[in-house]
């Protein structure tokens, strides 16, 4: 559940990857069906320049 209470749709692999890499998934727009976050989205966020990354809570 995201900060606003909205559901985050994320694949199990993406969730595990985000946990390992310390990526905050709440700002990621998923590329999967119905906006589901996939591993590739987490990896892209992890590799994005720091300034563009969402501010950590």
């Amino acid at each position: 559940v995201a900060a606003g209470g909205a559901r985050i749709r994320i694949s199990p692999l993406a969730r595990k990857t985000a946990a390992k890499l310390g990526v905050d998934v709440s700002g990621i727009v998923g590329s999967g069906p119905s906006g589901r976050i996939r591993q590739q989205d987490v990896l892209a966020a992890a590799n994005a320049p720091k300034a563009a990354a969402p501010v950590a809570a």
């Binding site: 559901r7 749709r9 694949s11 199990p12 999967g32 069906p33 119905s34 589901r36």
Partner: protein, 471 residues
């Protein structure tokens, strides 16, 4: 307590709840003892799931030869059911699986005590062994997995009549009865009815309620019952049994029908299948101070009872479906919690299967439940008759029904009747576990020709875009 910081665990009962719990605890390093009074594998392997499916497998072959054979070019001169051999084969399979369980326990270094356990105090057990000797036992944790036994309704004349049998009796008859009345239209009664009907027994089902198979979606039940009628079975609903009288044939079941009229049905055997009750009568739960509801043990989702260190799982607990995989899942949860992991039993992916012809299976919410709970949903349906593989396998009898959330399309329930339904349901269960939506089922390629294509089509239909049917 054992040396080296090992936890000691006693499991009472070696059914699919108990033996799985024991193996899991042993895997996690515990020193485990299983106390079993009768047979490893419990109800499931000896007089339940597996034996019924053996009979049904024989029955299916008979049916297939009779109903499909000629049409598909496979001709035989007369089919004969060698009933003692049906039973012998069932016994062989049971034996193979129960010895398998014995081997697994040994491999995992689980100790087995042949005996009957009962509580003598809080977390205190007394075990009466096969030779009559008694031993007091305790451990860091105790798992109660004593299962269930057939319930016997208080119908006058039933108990005294040797031709009134329960499911266990129906699994070890010596000869095929010509006629059978089945009291109760639940899953156990109907599965056995299907088997015997295929073998040639004339079946009459009497049921007090106005519908059968209450755990299934109504659309599924309708198709299943239609098939059973085609097999020659008679059904009498809203027809509660009043008494059983003796009869030269075997037994006479006297009922009151919908209009209040007394009707009766005579048969060689009467199968009583009105449900099962927790098998805790001999356990002395009171001495163990274990909270229960009429013998059904109360547990939380960690499978803990009110007594610290005492767990209960499977058919003997209160408030869950009495199914083998439920018992096993609870067993893993109990052992993990005992051994220091965090685990909760969660029912949302738990399927229910009915092994009639055609098979039926269900997971998650039904339409009826969505309505009752006020959940906004959409439905997708697809008939087996529009699926090539189902057409080949059983002439296309059946239906898939998917229930999904109205807004996000998340899979809430899946309901299938048709060939291989009991295996197809795994896709629905996994979808629920993964909080998947219709989109993901649609985006998954389902191979051709398989019955699983119906699942994707049903998902498409929920979005009004099925290819092989009208939307």
């Amino acid at each position: 307590a054992p040396a080296g910081g090992k936890k000691s665990v006693i499991v009472i009962g070696g059914g699919p709840g108990g033996y799985v719990a024991a193996i899991r605890a042993a895997q996690l390093g515990a020193e485990v003892t299983v106390v079993e009074k009768q047979y490893l594998g419990g109800t499931c392997l000896n007089v339940g799931c597996i034996p019924t499916k053996c009979l049904l497998h024989s029955a299916e072959l008979v049916e297939q030869i009779k109903t499909q054979g000629k049409d598909i070019g496979v001709e035989v001169e007369g089919v004969k059911v060698n009933f003692p051999q049906v039973i012998a084969h069932k016994n062989a399979i049971s034996k193979q699986l129960t010895s398998g369980v014995a081997g697994l326990l040994k491999m995992n270094k689980v100790k087995k005590v042949d005996g009957t356990a009962k509580f003598t105090g809080e977390k205190q057990l007394e075990v009466t062994k096969a030779d009559g000797s008694k031993e007091t036992m305790t451990a860091d944790a105790i798992i109660v997995a004593t299962g269930s036994v057939n319930a016997q309704p208080p119908i006058p004349g039933l108990k005294e009549n040797p031709n009134c049998i329960d499911s266990t009796g129906a699994l070890s008859l010596e000869k095929l009865p010509q006629t059978m009345v089945v009291i109760g239209g639940g899953v156990i009664g109907l599965e056995l009815a299907c088997a015997y009907a295929a073998f040639g027994t004339k079946i009459t089902v009497v049921e007090a309620m106005d519908h059968m198979l209450p755990m299934l979606d109504g659309d599924l039940t309708k198709i299943g019952v239609a098939h059973m009628k085609k097999m020659g079975m008679d059904f009498h609903l809203e027809c509660p049994v009043q008494s059983v009288e003796s009869s030269p044939v075997g037994a006479k079941v006297v009922c009151k029908d919908k209009s209040g009229k007394t009707v009766s049905f005579e048969a060689e055997k009467v199968l009583v299948a009105i449900g099962r009750k927790a098998n805790t009568a001999g356990l002395d739960l009171a001495a163990g101070k274990i909270d229960n509801d009429k013998g059904r043990i109360l547990v939380n989702d960690k499978m803990e009872t009110n007594v610290p260190g005492v767990y209960a799982i499977g058919d003997c607990v209160f408030g869950h479906a009495q199914l083998a995989h439920t018992a096993s899942a609870m067993g893993e949860v109990a052992s993990e919690n005992i051994c220091g992991l965090e685990a909760q039993y969660c029912e949302k992916t738990n399927p229910t299967c009915v092994y009639m012809e055609p098979e039926a299976a269900s997971v998650g919410l039904t339409e009826e439940q969505c309505k009752a709970q006020g959940i906004a949903y959409k439905v997708g349906k697809f008939p087996m008759s529009a699926n090539g593989k189902a057409l080949i396998l059983n002439g296309g009898e059946g239906l898939v029904k998917i229930i999904a959330g109205a807004e996000y399309g998340e899979i809430l329930g899946m309901h299938i009747i048709g060939p291989r339904a009991t295996d197809l349901i795994a896709e629905g269960a996994l979808a629920i576990e993964g909080e998947m939506t219709l989109d993901e089922i649609v985006d998954t390629i389902h191979s051709h020709p398989t019955v699983t294509e119906t699942m994707r089509e049903a998902a498409l239909n929920a979005e009004k875009r099925a290819i092989h049917t009208k939307n």
